[in-house]
Symmetry: C2
Subunit: 311 residues, 2 copies
Amino acid sequence: MAAHQIGIIGLGKIAQDQHLPVIKANPNFELLAVSSQRGLSHEDAKHTFQDYHDLLKLPEVEAVAICTPPQVRYVIAREALLAGKSVLLEKPPAATLSELEDLRHLADKMGKTVFTTWHSQYNKAVDEAKKALAGWSIKRLQVTWKEDVRHWHPGQQWIWEAGGFGVFDPGINALSIVTRIMPEPVFIKNASLEFPANRDAPIAANLTFSASHGTGDLQAVFDWRQTGPQSWDIEVETEAGLTLKLSHGGSCLEIGGRLVVQEKPAEYEGIYRRFDALLTIGRSEIDDAPFRLVADAFMIGKRVQVDAFEE
Amino acid sequence: MAAHQIGIIGLGKIAQDQHLPVIKANPNFELLAVSSQRGLSHEDAKHTFQDYHDLLKLPEVEAVAICTPPQVRYVIAREALLAGKSVLLEKPPAATLSELEDLRHLADKMGKTVFTTWHSQYNKAVDEAKKALAGWSIKRLQVTWKEDVRHWHPGQQWIWEAGGFGVFDPGINALSIVTRIMPEPVFIKNASLEFPANRDAPIAANLTFSASHGTGDLQAVFDWRQTGPQSWDIEVETEAGLTLKLSHGGSCLEIGGRLVVQEKPAEYEGIYRRFDALLTIGRSEIDDAPFRLVADAFMIGKRVQVDAFEE
């Protein structure tokens, strides 16, 4: 089978760091075109456009990866589907749940693949954690996602605007692991969202979950004010006494205190293997569970004002 | 076919005002049991329980109408489905979208009917508005939902708590009409939510929508501080020049300035006719579109603090 001819829309940091090198290393994809509003080009692409509409006009393009900021993803994805292209969406897949739902209908209607990617799910440690927890009742879940926003998001004003998600931008990665590994769905029961006095997005959040079964103690804390060591950890304890710890953003797994997986992250390699498979069989994979938890947290969360944040 | 044997869980105002008389008047339903945590009973019901678990144990009960506050609906609905009962849910159908999604899966798994009711949709004027707008591009949408919270929700503290929805409690009725009548889906583009300094839920909201097609001016304003005349109006203008106004919460319709429908609301009569049909054919109807718009508005909305609210 010939390689999938792909285009990348939006040449920001994630496209440069991940999508471009991973596509180049995967023989089942061929980078046909890129589009960049800022007029960036890339040596590997045969075609470079400033306007993504021109990229969508190329009949050879089978699929596009949309790597723009989330606010414009829906409009681009919709036009891509209507142009007969399949679509890979960076996380979060759209600005709102209603936009994503419309893409689901449109993918069905056009018979094209839509693939919502949640990169943190593509770790061997996450797969192994899911297997280890399958079928058990959960007694305790503690998600600790604490990082220094000044280090990881310097100068990114849009993340602080309404709709920019704030600390849920990294937090949704944790939630995407939670929805993957938990043997039963979890729901937001209570949330407190800490908004700096001068910002329209939360800098920290405390979430309490409930599950259908049992009375487990299920918690998450997200904080963007962490200096020193950074934490991207998920600890789980089952009713039967199994303990499990995912650390380093989902790339290391300890079970019962013993290190069982420690691998260099290769998340985007896994994403493109999955996209290859979905394109080949002509199926979509639209997972809105992490995004729904974020919307639920904003909807039922209590807002608390905290100190102004200056970069 | 024998009448559907039904139970009502939660005997608050909406059960007393609507569900009980409407069930009594519909020969296709027979009220078998009620449950009320406060120990209320009802003369029409053969059985009265304080604990809804006892109601769910009655093998003759085919379906239950859940009329409790939204926070506990999911847990009750889940237990009802697992007990083999079909479920009618008052609006909003759950506390969070993730809870509703789980009920969708469970309804499928159990082969039972789940019916999310949006009472404002059950008006002839709404049906006629939908027909009139089908196939047209929308130039302007103006939703004006302004009422006096002191008059309509006296002493209801839970609506002011986080997760109590605030002005979206009536506002979701407007959104349920919008999602019903608009010929294309709409999305929240911007929102500003006004929170009283001493409350955890908004007292007013301004929403701007976008649609897949066109560049229409689509707006909604919800306000709970309205004294004097109350407004529950939806005005629509199509690109082709058709103007339409739904007023009085969806019970009156003017097209081109001419009154075409003016009927005494009979919303719950319509809801129970629909439930009868769904039970008879064994299908679910789970419409999360209005609820999704509310979650989207909270997720991307800008919070603005306004004067404290005292009853």
